[in-house]
């Protein structure tokens, strides 16, 4: 089970998952450039393109055509993830590229997903950054429970924010579901929800319902919830007050979703991102002194500095 994969991790490596509900917010851009900046500090970084349906992390890293991909790993018996890691423009920065060649990569079977998750955890060097792609499909969400940091990338617009809230609910419920199974209170949840003939509108509502049936079980869920501390990045910001928007979102999520979201920073919009992509030149390499690169450095430093790295389980 996915929840079992979190057990026994003793190595110092850290896993970051970069995701969010909506496509096009810049998750891959953020993931790629965080990896580049970490490798600048001589950290060993493994990049995983887990956007299984539409992989393009390699493009943002300036790797035109990866020799081997995740498809080779998934469909090959007995291989390791390390064997399909490609070199990039930076020493110490390796890439497990997504596959456009294997037809069924977007819809991995459960045991294939478990294989991938298991091998990601076995990568025991430095940082592993996973670009999980958009949407709230289980194949994307399930990288978060094995991660030390979950990073949510949004844009300052209503559509992105709406999808972000749905993403946060989904990933939290997914993680709580594993906790529920682990503590054998899934029957209680089912009885509570079905018995009341209504689905709680919020996670807080779910906790209150469970508490009314069994306070001890509610306490277990609260403990599991307290470990979920995703990080928020606002990308493609164009206004000064987008930083205030980040603080507002943190407050709303805390009060209405009972999730301790951490606002990490704002990355300003830069039209040169598209140009560097067309040129297959990694953005922070092409524009080391831009405002966006400066902001990305600040974000990277903040993510690194979180003292109590929360294992999302």
């Amino acid at each position: 089970m996915i929840s079992n994969l979190a057990e026994g991790a003793k190595s110092p490596r850290r896993i970051w998952s970069v995701g969010g509900g909506k496509g096009g917010t810049g998750k891959t851009f953020i993931a790629a450039n965080l990896g580049l900046l970490l490798s600048e500090n001589h950290l060993r970084v493994n990049m995983i393109d887990a956007d299984l349906g539409a992989p393009n992390l390699h493009t943002f890293l300036g790797v035109r055509k990866p020799h081997l991909t995740l498809g080779d790993f998934i469909y090959k018996k007995g291989g390791t993830l390390a064997e399909v890691m490609s070199d990039t423009c930076r020493p110490g920065l390796k890439l497990a590229a997504g596959s456009n060649q294997h037809l069924y990569m977007a819809n991995l079977r459960y045991f294939q997903k478990l294989k991938l998750l298991r091998h990601i955890k076995k990568l025991n060097h430095g940082h592993t950054i996973i670009d999980t792609g958009g949407g709230i499909y289980f194949n994307g969400l399930d990288f978060f429970p094995i991660s030390d940091l979950g990073v949510l990338v949004i844009n300052p617009d209503p559509a992105s924010i709406e999808n972000a809230y749905q993403f946060l609910r989904s990933v939290t419920l997914r993680i709580l579901k594993f906790s529920v199974r682990e503590h054998e209170i899934d029957a209680l949840i089912k009885r509570t929800v079905e018995g009341r003939h209504r689905v709680p509108k919020s996670i807080q509502g779910l906790l209150e319902l469970v508490h009314s049936e069994d306070p001890n079980s509610a306490e277990l869920l609260v403990e599991a919830l307290a470990k979920i501390r995703p990080c928020l990045i606002i990308n493609k910001a164009r206004r000064e007050d987008d930083a205030l928007l980040g603080k507002s979102i943190v407050d709303v999520v805390r009060k209405y979703l009972a999730i301790d979201l951490r606002f990490v920073g704002v990355v300003p919009y830069d039209g040169k991102v598209d140009l560097s992509l067309k040129n297959l030149t990694p953005y922070v390499s092409a524009h080391p002194n831009s405002r966006a690169t400066y902001a990305l450095r600040v974000v990277a430093d903040r993510l690194l500095s979180f003292e109590s790295v929360c294992r999302l389980n």
């Binding site: 924010i161 709406e162 205030l244 928007l245 709303v252 979703l257 009972a258």
Partner: protein
């Protein structure tokens, strides 16, 4: 994670209990911007009823925490074992603002209305523009120069309009004024 109704005013505004008046003011403004109608942060997550509820709680929190005496009493209720000294008050510009005296604590007193206006960072000009009440009348209310104001029901209307602009309960403010007028005439 506490529900909204279980949160203290400090928790509601994301403040530490030793927050300065400036921090309270900034927290209040951020909270109002977060939950105002049309706010991006609340899009699809907060219903209109929930918005009204939390805005009411935020206003209540600000009223209690921005007034030193009220805050002192509130802190005592939270932690009766501690007898904290009332905090100093401060207006937006960082200058020391004259605190309402104990006997001028009443809701409709000019000094209190001016105090609340300054704590919210609002100018008389801005309130006049929003409410269409003449600045002269607003100045007269704050100066308690009631001779310069229309009398009777219209005065009550002006006072209630000003109170609403400060997010105070207009009925309470007008009722307080009437009580003070009655007391002073006896």
């Amino acid at each position: 994670m506490k529900g909204l109704n279980e949160m203290t005013f400090y928790e509601l505004l994301n403040l530490q209990q030793d927050a300065s008046p400036q921090e309270i003011q900034e927290a209040y403004r951020l909270a109002m911007a977060t939950y105002q109608p049309g706010s991006l942060a609340t899009y699809t997550l907060v219903s209109e009823d929930e918005r009204q509820e939390i805005l009411g709680r935020i206003e209540e929190a600000f009223r209690e925490l921005s007034h030193p005496l009220k805050r002192h009493r509130y802190d005592q209720k939270l932690h009766p074992e501690k007898l904290a000294k009332p905090q100093e008050s401060c207006s937006e510009g960082g200058q020391q603002q004259e605190e309402p005296e104990e006997n001028e604590y009443s809701l409709s007193s000019g000094q209190y209305l001016k105090y609340v206006r300054n704590m919210k960072g609002l100018s008389l000009k801005r309130i006049s523009e929003d409410t269409r009440v003449s600045i002269r009348y607003l100045e007269a209310l704050e100066g308690e120069d009631y001779g310069k104001l229309p009398q009777g029901a219209y005065l009550g209307f002006i006072l209630g309009t000003y109170a609403r602009a400060l997010n105070l309960d207009p009925q309470s403010v007008v009722q307080d004024f009437k009580s003070r007028q009655l007391a002073s005439s006896q």
